[in-house]
Subunit: 125 residues, 4 copies
């Protein structure tokens, strides 16, 4: 597991209950996953593949608030033949706020295809 993204909570991300609205965790997850892929050197552009989100699962354990800075750690959660799942842990300091799992499939010319061996190897590195 490695930290791949961090940002101060924005005022507009907090709802009238004074906590981050749930949907923003998915937007953060996107930034974190892209950053993780860049750090792994995933050759998406080169392979001509699009990564498409197929599913997401979020479990909240505590709230983030305005004034907090969130960090996101990423690790591979499950590697299948045609899809893989990333586990992203969103924290404020040591406290876990939410675990987001996002599942991606590969698409070439609009058609789902298996992830190439090169991508599978890098994701498991």
């Amino acid at each position: 597991m490695r930290q791949v993204w961090s940002a101060p909570v924005r005022f507009a991300e907090c709802d009238q209950g004074g906590v981050v609205f749930n949907a923003h965790y998915l937007a953060w997850a996107h930034e974190a996953v892209e950053s993780w892929w860049a750090a792994l050197g995933l050759p998406f552009a080169e392979t001509g593949l699009d990564q498409r989100i197929k599913a997401a699962a979020l479990e909240w354990r505590s709230s983030a608030r305005y004034g907090d800075t969130v960090t996101v750690d990423a690790e591979l959660d499950r590697m299948g033949s045609t899809s893989f799942t990333v586990a992203l842990t969103v924290r404020v300091a040591d406290r876990v706020c939410c675990v987001v799992r996002t599942t991606y499939v590969a698409v070439a010319d609009g058609v789902p295809v298996p992830w190439p061996e090169q991508v599978r190897t890098l994701l498991q590195s």
Copy 2:
């Protein structure tokens, strides 16, 4: 299952791939669930309980785009003692775009409590 919410897709909800960005499905789910609760006559204010989202799971099947109008149907997916799960089906016309399942717990004075019988009965009505 009943239709509880509908809205035209907004320009700012679409990303540079020309489709609705994933996080907006969670924001739509919130509006749809609130509308469903209101239609059921759920007495949240009266019971002094807060409904708190505990988990969400989303599965995408197709994309919504600018110019589309989405509809959301709601039904009870699972009734537990301390939590319940709602299944929300987001469609453009007859085509399913995403199924969102959101799980709620009851909180009174910051402490999780069982859902009252009255709420459980209404949810299963």
Copy 3:
């Protein structure tokens, strides 16, 4: 002036002060302007022109809140040779919340061009 758009305020649009966060008025303005142009029959696609926002000015008079439904009226505020400005009045019932003025220029192949006479005539109709 004619009503061109309306929507219930969304929960995620309200900040921890319990009122709609300022940036959402610009997103509403976009939807309202697009709707106004469609109602006028503006032939953007046919002319091959892109309308590009150049400036926006917002003045708030009162707040919109969760539970409110906002309406937006549109009218031409100023017609120049290369730009025009739309005035959008956002209300909750009869109460004005915000007046948004947005200014657009025409762009063809990335270069600013005058608005065609046909567009100028329709905007002033």
Copy 4:
């Protein structure tokens, strides 16, 4: 003029034209202004005053895109007796994307009041 805020452009902030959607500039302005006030040591909490946005004016000069990092510089644009205006310049590297001017009034117990001398002095420092 001093740099008060910076952030990578987020994927969900870009629209299907491939550029940052206009409303996000206002959300960035909020973060930048709050950061500027904190840097100046503005005693909002101590004075019991709320700062309320009254007006905003935005002028776009170029686009920001996914992959860019934006910076925001702040300076006092105009100091009135009951309101002040901040000029925020959003750039990608040396290129100006947008100048945002936001005007704030002071509110105490829901009623507009003059800005205290202490605040006026700090803003002009």
